[in-house]
């Protein structure tokens, strides 16, 4: 019994701890896609159409929803991802909001592409 206890403490527990930490540090790729009520990627397909068609009201609503979705997902991504990438996403989102409010197609599309690129880079 003592041997089993010692084996558990000296081998199993450290191995499980290491495994858990490795998973936690790489959890970004998983949390980006799974277990989210409102996933982020569909907005990258929906928004360009709305921006090109000049449906600014609808686009603004979608950007707000995208921001809410991002806020949810970032809580879980923050432990495994770079601070700069998270901040980049936040800044691009703010820029997108501004362009959509001003009804500027070129700027809005550029900011949206930037967002999509940052999203792809997260967890890499």
């Amino acid at each position: 019994m003592r041997k089993i206890g010692r084996f558990f403490l000296s081998k199993v527990l450290p191995a499980v701890t290491l495994g858990f930490f490795v998973l936690l540090m790489n959890s970004g790729t998983f949390f980006k896609h799974y277990g989210v009520a409102d996933p982020v990627p569909p907005y990258f397909q929906r928004l360009p159409t709305l921006i090109i068609q000049g449906k600014w009201q609808e686009a603004a609503e979608n950007v707000d929803k995208l921001e809410a979705a991002w806020r949810q997902v970032v809580r879980r991504l923050q432990f495994s991802e770079e601070r700069d990438e998270i901040n980049n996403f936040r800044h691009s989102l703010a820029r997108l909001k501004g362009y959509v409010a001003a009804g500027e197609t070129g700027g809005a599309l550029a900011a949206l592409n930037e967002l999509a690129e940052t999203w792809v880079d997260l967890g890499r």
Binding site: P14, T17, L18, F21, V22, L24, M25, N26, G28, V74, Q78, F79, S80, E81, E82, R83, D84, I86, N87
Partner: protein, 242 residues
């Protein structure tokens, strides 16, 4: 992003990873470390610190760095254990600084060891007269090992042909007021025997005892929580400093 929370979580990760990796690398004492081991330790610690506080990069690459350095150290240890030649190549060899009472100046220079360093190390070993020294070796850990001339070596019972009893390791029977039954069992003793021994020393319960050790001659050393009214000698001389 809550930076404080992220640093906290990363800190926990780094702390336990460092603990596990340090255990994996063994139990070398700091004083036994070579200069290279010392630098390795600093590097591994530095990577762990970066893992905790450098939020501009992901935790994972830092972990990979930490694991790589640990694996490299572990590999060197493993190879050193299997090959004496490799061990010597990696850790170096002891160097003679004093031979037959003569200082080896060339070796001193080679080791970038000054005469003052040598004399300081000798004084640390209680040697103030160089003529007492037969051999002095600079170990790979940077420590000086000294062999005194036979006429200056301390006399041992063996020299005087005095018979001695076997002396081994003492065993803890009570630690912090708690009886360690497994150690009692090892010597075919029980709590009744222990309590009887304690009573003979005027102790009513093991809970009064901070530490009880049984030596290989069967004698019990007991240290109580209450130091029997003896006032502790105050070594401080703050009051006398003007």
């Amino acid at each position: 992003m809550n930076e404080a929370a992220v640093v906290f979580v990363r800190g926990i990760i780094a702390f336990f990873i460092l603990l596990i990796f340090a255990r994996l690398l063994g139990k070398q004492q700091v004083s036994e470390l070579t200069f290279f081991d010392y630098i390795l330790g600093i590097t591994i610690g530095s990577i762990a610190a970066t893992l905790t506080t450098d939020l501009s990069s992901r935790a994972w690459p830092h972990w990979v760095g930490l694991a790589t350095w640990t694996a490299a150290v572990w590999f060197l240890q493993w190879v050193s254990l299997r090959s004496r030649a490799v061990a010597k190549y990696i850790n170096g060899e002891p160097v003679i600084l004093i031979m037959n009472g003569q200082i080896m100046e060339k070796n001193l220079k080679k080791m970038r060891y000054t005469l003052d360093d040598l004399l300081i190390q000798l004084r640390h070993r209680g040697i103030f007269d160089l003529k007492e020294v037969e051999f002095a070796l600079l170990e790979t850990t940077g420590q000086l090992s000294v062999l005194k001339k036979s006429q200056y070596a301390p006399v041992t019972p063996h020299d005087l042909k005095i018979p001695t009893k076997y002396k081994g390791l003492s065993t803890e029977l009570i630690y912090d007021g708690k009886v360690i039954d497994i150690n009692l069992k090892r010597f075919n003793l029980d709590r009744a025997w222990l309590e009887q021994q304690l009573k003979a020393q005027g102790i009513q319960s093991p809970r009064e005892v901070f530490l009880a050790l049984l030596n290989t001659e069967g004698e019990l050393y007991v240290n109580r929580y209450q130091d029997q009214g003896q006032p502790v000698t105050d070594l401080s001389d703050y009051e006398n400093i003007s």
